[in-house]
Symmetry: C2
Subunit: 101 residues, 2 copies
């Protein structure tokens, strides 16, 4: 299995973070991860097809929002809150504070 690619914080792009959060499924995943220490993909997929959810996790990883690592037969995901906060102070909390319709 290929290891997951994660950008360094210095490579983060504001546009990519905003794009990653411009989808309701990805926004849900990030909201969920903001409330827990770590979660498997299964705990975050909301019963959606694996192929759909895999794509969303890839977008979130490439934006620098999510860190995924293998843990036995699972993938554990964590929110890269400190990295995002360091690069874009106040951004994530301002977005997660919003109510979605």
């Amino acid at each position: 299995m290929r290891p997951f690619k994660h950008p360094a914080a210095s490579e983060f792009s504001l546009e990519r973070v905003l794009y990653a959060l411009s989808d309701s499924i990805r926004l849900d995943i990030v909201r969920h991860l903001a409330c827990v220490e770590a979660a498997t993909c299964g705990e975050l997929d909301g019963g959606r097809p694996k192929s759909t959810v895999s794509h969303h996790f890839k977008v979130l990883r490439e934006a620098g929002l999510v860190f995924t690592e293998s843990s036995g037969t699972n993938h554990m995901n964590t929110l890269r809150r400190a990295d995002i906060e360091g690069r874009f102070p106040g951004l994530l909390s301002a977005i997660l504070a919003q109510q979605t319709s």
Copy 2:
């Protein structure tokens, strides 16, 4: 000429606002509009082709970020700052406060 369509603030969607700001050209337009009272499309296009810029203005209008009205032979654009702030408190300022790359 068809009048421009602008959503009511109650119709704004967080995802649509984030998507609209996930492009560097659109982010530049919004940054510029945040500093002035109003601007024509020509003042905001950065010398880019009209067809490209028209698409970007449409995305910004549909998200509720920009209001466009005809003024003689020009189109004048304003940032809907109060409407966005009312619906998504703190969001726009948190995004515009970020440094890009």
